[in-house]
């Protein structure tokens, strides 16, 4: 596996992630050659150290875009670049926290967190030693020897977070990571993530349904239109000061202004998206 290049020129213009005119067309499940274009001509960049959220109605193609960025899905048209390198196959600079359950059910929580290190050639014992503090960081130090089915949905998400971050990816792709959590745990995890992020400023692409979450976490919010052929239709810089407390910042007038502005646009798309899904 290629390691991240040691000498990454700091302060240069190379964005951490760049998508260029990405179009993804899937064969329709009904066969007969008909196709469904999920996203069309989507381009955006994420600067090194930037936290970008993508919001959009359900089924618009958010996960699809993330799969392209991760190198798991080859777009029908367009390209993705990670720190200037064309993404062709698995993107070795990216960590991906999936929307669906992705833990290995036959490994305990600790072993799951340690897996990424083991794949990088660290001995099992050492990998598990290094995994322990990560489990503690997501509040699961007492649950290391539980198997995924013995954990709650929220706990599994936390294990997945530790599993993704332990290998220190330069780009972190997160697909609705906290949507399974209750509101208190969720805000705790959001703050925890912001803390972790501010420590070493990884580039983050964060997908969420929740506009408040998007605004309170990010430097920039991108709005995706309803499918088919979803496009990026809005881009909103979030100039709220950091460090932030996700719960408190929601009360500030500037936050509310931003929210009103973005929601005005998103609402229409959500309604369209809902109508679309019902039609299908």
């Amino acid at each position: 596996m290629a390691e991240a290049p040691a000498l990454r020129p700091e302060g240069t213009e190379t964005p951490a992630l760049r998508l260029e005119g990405v179009t993804c067309t899937f064969p329709s499940p009904d066969g007969r050659g008909s196709t469904y274009t999920a996203v069309q001509g989507v381009s955006f960049t994420v600067a090194a150290g930037e936290f970008v959220s993508i919001v959009g109605p359900t089924g618009s193609g958010k996960s699809t875009l993330l799969n392209v960025a991760a190198g798991l899905l080859e777009p029908s048209e367009g390209r993705a670049f990670a720190f200037g390198q064309l993404v062709n196959g698995i993107n070795p600079l990216a960590g991906y926290m999936f929307q669906a359950e992705a833990l290995m059910p036959w490994k305990s929580a600790l072993e799951n967190v340690a897996a990424g290190l083991e794949f990088r050639g660290v001995s099992k014992r050492e990998a598990e030693e290094r995994a322990r503090p990560w489990l503690a960081r997501v509040g699961l130090d007492r649950f290391g020897d539980r198997y995924p089915h013995q954990l709650s949905g929220g706990m599994r998400k936390r294990v997945a977070l530790a599993q993704t971050l332990i290998v220190d990816p330069k780009i972190v792709l997160m697909d609705e990571p906290f949507s399974a959590l209750d509101i208190q745990t969720r805000q705790m995890m959001e703050n925890e993530l912001l803390d972790l992020w501010s420590a070493d400023r990884k580039s983050v692409v964060f997908i969420t349904h929740d506009l408040e979450e998007a605004i309170s976490m990010s430097d920039r919010v991108l709005v995706l239109s309803a499918g088919p052929g979803a496009r990026l239709i809005g881009e909103y810089p979030v100039d709220l000061e950091r460090p932030r407390d996700v719960a408190e910042i929601r009360m500030t007038p500037h936050f509310l202004d931003l929210h009103r502005e973005i929601w005005g646009q998103l609402r229409e798309e959500v309604l369209k998206g809902y109508a679309q899904t019902k039609l299908k």
Binding site: I90, Y96, F98, P105, W106, K107, A115, G116, H149
Partner: protein
């Protein structure tokens, strides 16, 4: 332990008691029917004679040799069939062309009643243990093969993608993803596989051999020794039950990561 709420069953000791009662009832009925000559003791034996014969066989030690032979055949058939099944299962699951081409033949061979192969194996491999092992292998192989194939195919694509994003090479994927998934399917069919290994051994012995439990039963049948036949069946049953218990223990050990039926422990334990 409490199991997910279903209809209430009596507690475990009560169930065990009922199970023993059924066993005793069966032997009593058998005893009464044969003692009153409603069933002829010549054709049906008598429970006391069967128990006595079984006891004597164990006490004198003759049965141990035959048990050992059957056990050896079973173990060999199981081991060879499992290893071959795993190897071919993986190969077929990872090579779609091979699996598509061979699919009808695999199905055809699997549909063949394996008993008809016994005489052929006896011809090829003689009357020793290997003809029985071969018969057992043909039974075990397909169970393991289909389960491994399924296990490799059924790996969640998200789990796979996640492992790859975490940096897993093909070798890592095999060891950390495909193998555990396939093995869980193999272990879940362990009871069937071991059972079939034994069926292969006993049927093979029955159809032609000089040792083993199947041979004992065949011998007894040849001289109309019904007590001997029933005694052989009894020993065989005990043998099966013991092996099944062992398999259950192994299974619990190896599949501890799998969700059982939802279980909680309450105060009484």
């Amino acid at each position: 332990m409490a199991v997910a709420r279903t209809k209430r069953l009596p507690s475990r000791p009560v169930i065990l008691l009922l199970q023993v009662a059924v066993l005793i009832g069966f032997f009593l009925l058998w005893h009464v029917l044969t003692a009153t000559n409603i069933l002829s003791p010549f054709f049906f034996g008598t429970p006391l004679a069967v128990l006595e014969r079984t006891w004597n066989d164990f006490a004198s030690g003759v049965i141990w040799y035959h048990l050992g032979i059957t056990l050896l055949e079973t173990a060999l058939a199981f081991a060879i069939g499992t290893v071959a099944g795993i190897a071919f299962g993986f190969w077929f699951a990872r090579a779609p062309l091979v699996s598509v081409v061979f699919d009808p033949y695999i199905k055809a061979v699997n549909a063949l009643p394996r008993v008809v192969l016994a005489p052929i194996f006896a011809l090829w491999l003689g009357l020793g243990i290997w003809s029985k092992v071969a018969l057992g292998v043909t039974l075990v192989f397909f169970i393991v093969f289909f389960n491994v194939y399924q296990g490799v195919k059924e790996v969640s694509p998200v789990v796979l993608a996640n492992a790859r994003m975490l940096g897993a090479s093909n070798r890592h994927l095999f060891r950390h993803v495909y193998l555990p998934s396939a093995l869980s399917w193999v272990f879940s069919s362990l009871h069937t596989a071991v059972g079939f290994a034994m069926v292969g051994a006993v049927v093979g012995e029955y159809l032609g051999s000089a040792a083993g439990l199947g041979y004992r039963i065949h011998q007894a049948e040849g001289v109309f020794d019904t007590v001997g036949v029933f005694s052989g069946m009894l020993v065989l049953t005990i043998f099966v039950v013991v092996i099944d218990v062992v398999v259950t223990v192994i299974e619990k050990r190896l599949l501890h990561w799998r969700p059982q039926e939802a279980q909680t422990t309450n105060a009484q334990g």
